[in-house]
């Protein structure tokens, strides 16, 4: 693969022109392959699950880091481990189920067995049968473990990394992200269920979408009309020091319907005629002392942690190639939720996920971009709302966090690959 130095507009300082992203990063397989190496297997921490998904010793969950199949396990001593789901013998999947409980991880093909840390503990016929066969004399079990990833948890969220050199997970996330995770994961949680959404577009279009407070009240009528989220609300768009991650939050109590009506004019998504017959859908509780009613915490590269009204969820991105990804939504509540609170969360789940009255449009937003950029080798997007720099904002009319994402991407992957 030849790499050439480019001095296109998008490589120059965005001081006046905003940020330009070449569309081929969303369509060209070469970028996808390099992302797998440099991001998902590189100096990053990827989200793999919630501790609450594997509460008991022996519990496991099959998932992915980027496109690589991995297993999250809980060992008998309570420790968590993440290993590549690939037998060290001839490469078969070791776990074929989505989740379960096992004392050890055994490959069905030749029954090579691993403990819950991924260490090889058994090889059938290792010494042969009746003096015949068997592994070579210098066969060293300890050299044939499952590939073990570094595993760390923050507030009950489990992250894994292929990198031996990346900073600690906490440092990778930075104080703003850690503080938000700990704010939401403030007490023991209980998993309510999963939703899985296949989106026919590039995963980075969703990374942009979740760093974009600008679109939310313009695309999503439910947000705007019912005042769940408006760009006029009190809120901020903040980033960590490295500008990888993004925190968007807002306070619905700051709504001013009269002023908002003026701001949105005759926007499609400020529809005062739109009424619900059954308002119980929007009946909720103020859960947090800070009055914040909406948090979208986009954690580089593959996680969103959300609080929308009383819906709490993590969204994990699994990549399937340049033009397809899966979004896994895991909803949760708190273990001390009373029956009414549980009912509120299950009902408000109508708002989010692939059938979410608010969020379903994001799938379409990704796909209409992917459909339009097909075959485009040279054109770029233009991202400049809020000034065109990766800067924090004490308002919600900004695309600064998207630029932060691309600054990191350019460093880890680059925009400089030759068109295929």
């Amino acid at each position: 693969m030849s790499i050439r130095q480019q001095t296109d507009a998008f490589d120059q300082a965005p001081s006046t022109a905003g940020c330009r992203v070449p569309y081929r990063v969303f369509t060209d397989r070469q970028y996808y392959d390099r992302e797998q190496e440099n991001i998902f297997k590189g100096n990053c921490w990827s989200f793999v699950g919630l501790e609450a998904e594997v509460p008991q010793a022996g519990d496991f969950k099959s998932t992915f880091v980027g496109e690589t199949p991995v297993i999250l396990t809980r060992d008998s001593d309570g420790s968590l481990h993440v290993v590549v789901n690939r037998c060290a013998h001839r490469g078969a999947l070791v776990c074929r189920e989505m989740r379960g409980n096992r004392a050890s991880l055994e490959c069905v093909y030749h029954q090579w067995a691993y403990d819950l840390k991924g260490d090889l503990i058994g090889v059938p016929f290792r010494r042969g049968l009746k003096g015949q066969g068997g592994m070579p004399g210098d066969f060293d079990m300890s050299q044939h473990n499952l590939r073990q990833l570094r595993t760390e948890t923050v507030g009950g969220l489990v992250f894994a990394s292929f990198s031996e050199t990346v900073e600690s997970c906490r440092d990778f996330l930075g104080p703003i992200v850690v503080e938000q995770i700990e704010r939401i994961m403030c007490k023991p949680i209980t998993v309510l269920g999963d939703q899985r959404q296949r989106i026919r577009g590039n995963w980075k279009l969703y990374a942009e979408n979740t760093r974009d407070p600008y679109h939310a009240s313009l695309l999503h009528l439910f947000h705007n009309t019912f005042g769940l989220y408006r760009s006029t609300q009190t809120g901020e768009a903040l980033m960590d020091a490295n500008k990888r991650h993004s925190l968007l939050y807002s306070i619905a109590a700051s709504n001013d319907d009269a002023a908002d009506k003026q701001a949105y004019g005759d926007s499609r998504t400020f529809d005062t005629e739109f009424k619900l017959q059954d308002m119980s859908l929007l009946k909720g509780r103020q859960e947090f002392a800070d009055n914040v009613t909406l948090v979208i915490l986009a954690v580089y590269p593959n996680l969103v942690l959300q609080q929308i009204q009383n819906t709490l969820a993590v969204r994990q991105t699994v990549t399937y190639g340049p033009d397809e990804f899966e979004l896994v939504w895991t909803h949760f509540g708190y273990q001390d939720d009373d029956a009414e609170m549980q009912a509120i969360r299950l009902k408000q789940a109508n708002l989010i996920g692939p059938a979410g009255l608010i969020s379903m449009e994001d799938g379409e937003a990704v796909e209409i971009v992917q459909d339009a950029i097909v075959g485009e080798a040279s054109a770029t997007s233009y991202i400049a709302m809020g000034g065109g720099r990766a800067e924090d904002a004490d308002h919600l009319v900004t695309e600064g966090a998207i630029i932060g994402f691309w600054d990191n991407y350019r460093e880890m992957v680059g925009f400089d690959l030759e068109p295929a």
């Binding site: 989505m98 998993v191 309510l192 269920g193 999963d194 939703q195 899985r196 959404q197 296949r198 989106i199 026919r200 695309l219 009528l221 439910f222 009309t225 998504t269 529809d271 739109f274 619900l276 017959q277 059954d278 119980s280 859908l281 899966e326 909803h331 299950l346 009902k347 789940a349 109508n350 996920g353 692939p354 059938a355 009255l357 379903m360 449009e361 799938g363 379409e364 937003a365 796909e367």
Partner: protein, 162 residues
């Protein structure tokens, strides 16, 4: 002989036909008529087998009144943005599992096919309906309808009823 009684056939017929009409109203985009197939005080949920089989109640769609069904449709017409598409429900035979007074519990396998603007038809969602149907009125109505779906990877979004 194990042949069905006339009443057994009538109950099965009623349960099968209200399901056929349910599919027809959705597929023919007559969604405004769809909530009328339900009791006022109904429950309609669309939940993955993945969650249902673990006794987790998180559903993709959960409505516990006819008003919420109406809201879903109004939202689809006015609020939601989604790719142009149509559904086609193919239902298998409906099987009555039990009857209690005027309430019939029935199960029906279904597959929903989707055709987008490109003109190709694909499997969107398969699963089974488990229904409680009230046959006491002039027309049978759903007291509850639960669509438990196999296809836990939802293609882009789910905006129409299943």
């Amino acid at each position: 002989m194990g042949l069905p009684t006339l009443e057994q056939m009538q109950l099965q017929h009623a349960a099968a036909q209200v399901n056929a009409l349910h599919a027809e109203l959705i597929d023919d985009d007559r969604l405004e008529e769809w909530p009328d197939l339900f009791e006022e005080n109904c429950r309609y949920s669309v939940i993955s087998a993945e969650n249902h089989n673990r006794s987790l109640n998180l559903a993709a769609v959960f409505c516990d009144s006819r008003g919420m069904l109406v809201d879903r449709i109004v939202s689809l017409r006015r609020a939601n943005i989604f790719p142009a598409h149509s559904y086609r429900h193919i239902l298998g035979p409906t099987r009555v599992k039990s009857t209690s007074g005027q309430i019939v519990t029935a199960q029906t396998n279904y597959v929903v096919l989707m055709t987008r603007n490109d003109g190709q038809t694909s499997i969107y969602n398969s699963g089974k309906y488990v229904d409680e149907i009230d046959v006491s009125g002039a027309a049978p109505r759903f007291l509850s309808k639960t669509a438990i779906f196999d296809t836990h990877l939802i293609d882009t979004m789910m905006v129409r009823p299943i």
